[in-house]
Amino acid sequence: MTKTPTNWTGRDDAMVEDMIRRGATRRQLLKMLMASGVGVAAGGSLLMRAGAAHAETPVSGGHLRAAGWSSSTADTLDPAKASLSTDYVRCCAFYNRLTFLDEAGEVQMELAEKIETDDAKTWNVTLRSGVTFHDGKTLTSDDVLYSLNRHLDPAVGSKVNSIAKQMTEITKVDDLNLRIVLDQANADLPAILALHHFLIIADGTTDFAKANGTGAFICETFEPGVRSVGKKNPDYWKAEGPYLDSFEFIAISDDNARVNALLSGDIQLAAAINPRSVRLVESNNSVKTSVTTSGNYSNLNMRLDIDPGDKAGFVEGMKYLINREAIQKSLFRGLAEVANDQPVSPADRYHNPNLKAREFDPERAKALFDKAGLLGTEIPIVASDAATSSVDMATIVQQAGRDVGMNFKVERVPSDGYWSNYWLKAPVHFGNINPRPTPDILFSLLYASDAPWNESHYKSDKFDAMLSEARGALDEDKRTSIYWEMQEMVANEAGTAIPVYISNVDALSSKVGGLKPNPLGGMMGYAFAEYVWLKD
């Protein structure tokens, strides 16, 4: 089973697994492998390996220890305030959502039995019956009403306040039915409700020292900045799972220490492995990796409303000056996918595959800078560790710039306070965007004229009109074609250069089964606790 070609990584395993899951035949897979230069003999053994991973049967029992990368006293059990992977993992184990996104990015029902609408504006939510909270209380529409309304209260400090605002009216119909009225038609509501912040808590909850949810695990210990322990919920409402008796989640912020803890067997799952450690991890037979490439990216933002972004040609020149392949191959060691300057990643079902990434073309960039009258000027680029790998990306751009006679000055600023002081403010700076479940959320958050995080201050009436048209369209084909065109507009007109979608690599003990990539992020969209099992 260890017969793999050199340079074969967990990413390739994941790709093969993914193809099998999508129903690819053996012939198709071998053809794909041949095309990428893997011999038939080696290819066959790789397929067996991926096939085995796909066909495993769950086993029950055991205690799993997993480690994320950040945790602090700001850790919370309040889903509205959840802001880090650690919060999402914890909350997903203790609570449920109305809906969730499966590994193919499709919406599945969780606490909701069905969510229906005729006009995408008025929605009827029917809850599952017989679901109970950990304290024995039965789930009713009051709990959902309370959970959703909280996001509108500024005192709660909800992270999704701006998204929740579109729910103008939330009313209880009866114990298991609710009606949600939106300010304008939005066919994506079921996907929006799959965001981690919309986890359902019990009516009237204000104390978040312990979690009282409907989730697969009961909160046993919660120490902010230290650890969370959950034990199996014996009365869990789903027919299948959880498999683990208990799980513990800690954070080890040092990359090497996290890998070492996994290699020594102290933990069974280490999230977000540095690309530099991937080879080390994969050379060890007791450990495997799981690679998720969804819409996480660090992007170069050039504000279109001030100098130098307002000079025609500058933004386009920069997009040609970014050596995407170097960033993908050298900086991320292959653990990234080349992107085409728009935020909808291939993991999203509305991704436009016809839109090709710009080639690295310094000569063309030079001509464009010349046209903008900026050739030879000094332009500062603000980068920070707060935006993943942005300092290295800035250096790559700086070097390419030097070759064509541009003088970029990389200003490296501290992570601390980056988001409030530099992001959205500096003329040329880096940002970092986490995966979102729908193009609508991405576009309304980042590119609409009134978007709160309009990184390049992009304004287009046509774009706004298309956004609102697609939002209300219940016809899939029509939405898809609008979204495809919008992706082209963003790639060509907005001042945001998105070089690559960054892969997240989780490393796990080979005893852990059931972990699948999910478009909402690593560790199975942070919801792994419920789905994984431990072989003995």
Binding site: A74, P154, G157
Partner: protein
């Protein structure tokens, strides 16, 4: 009586100065925190910090009151032994600190038990046989240990003992500490990493202090009288070197309470150093202040203790 009148005055003066230092430090920490960009509401909301959201959260958290007034309120509460409520997660600061302080003190305690006897023996030994092979080996080793950063020592220790040999756990927390051998396992690596750093300094300082006194005429006199080398050092020289040695030990140990962030990070040990870093990152003023006070108190008490030892061991100061 051990403490005469003038010694008591000296001790009381020390304590008064310590208290004053605490107040000055807390003001300094407050002003430094105010200089940091962003406040707790902005930090908590992170990327989602739209102006309305920040204003709403500030209102809800009572942050609209001027920062200085909030600080004075916290100081007044402290006089009653109340550390205040953390802005970030609404838990009493005392609860947040409680367990972690115990953890930090335990780690510091075990490290002290290991490192102080070892460094005293090696330091005094090196001074006693100055210039010998033993002295040279100790010197070379201490110098090289001082020069190696502790994250390197810690990471190497994990690689060797946890990953390759599999003898010890890579993480120190959550390990079973019910039996003595289990505790030994859990603490072995953090204590080794920390001891490396503190021992090296203490050995150097002890050796220097003892050699200083050995060079004085009265010790030479003892030698001329025919005292054995060990008697000359232990009976005649050492009592006079106690003051400087106590100070060196105090300085090294004061580092163990608040300065062990690297070891806490690598072994995932939940102590107060990490708590302080978290507090600063989230601009959680009550927590920052409380941690700063704890570090300051531990530092001051160690230094004061060392001063007292110096006073008591020196008849000229004791009178």
């Amino acid at each position: 009586m051990l403490l005469s009148y003038s010694t008591s005055i000296l001790v009381l003066q020390r304590l008064a100065i310590a208290l004053l230092t605490l107040v000055i430090v807390s003001f300094a920490v407050f002003f430094a925190t105010e200089l940091l960009p962003g406040d707790v509401a902005q930090i908590l909301l992170g990327q989602a910090a739209t102006p309305e959201a920040v204003a709403g959260l500030r209102e809800a958290m009572g942050l609209n009151q001027p920062a200085f007034l909030r600080f004075l309120g916290w100081l007044a509460g402290l006089l009653h032994g109340d550390f205040g409520i953390s802005y970030v997660n609404n838990m009493p600061v005392a609860d947040l600190i409680g367990d972690r302080l115990v953890n930090s003190l335990r780690l510091a305690g075990v490290t002290t038990l290991v490192s102080v006897p070892v460094s005293l023996c090696l330091g005094i030994g090196a001074a006693m046989w100055r210039g010998s092979l033993f002295d040279r080996i100790v010197t070379v080793l201490t110098i090289s240990v001082i020069s190696v950063p502790e994250f390197m020592v810690a990471t190497l220790a994990v690689l060797i003992f946890a990953v390759w040999l599999g003898w010890l756990p890579a993480l120190s927390y959550g390990a079973d500490v019910s039996s003595f051998s289990a505790m030994l396992k859990a603490y072995a690596m953090p204590v080794i990493s920390l001891s490396f750093v503190v021992c090296a300094q203490m050995i150097r300082m002890t050796r220097a202090a003892v050699i200083d006194t050995i060079n004085t005429p009265y010790v030479e006199m003892a030698l001329l009288k025919g005292a054995r080398r060990s008697r000359m050092v232990l009976r005649h020289a050492l009592p006079n070197a106690l003051g400087p040695i106590a100070n060196a030990i105090a300085l090294s140990l004061s580092y163990l309470v608040g300065g062990v962030i690297i070891v806490e990070t690598i072994f995932n040990y939940p102590g107060v150093a990490k708590l302080m870093v978290d507090a600063v990152a989230t601009r959680d003023l009550p927590l920052i202040q409380s941690c700063a006070m704890i570090f300051c108190v531990s530092y001051l008490s160690l230094i004061t203790l060392a001063d007292l030892m110096a006073i008591l061991s020196n008849p000229r100061l004791r009178k």
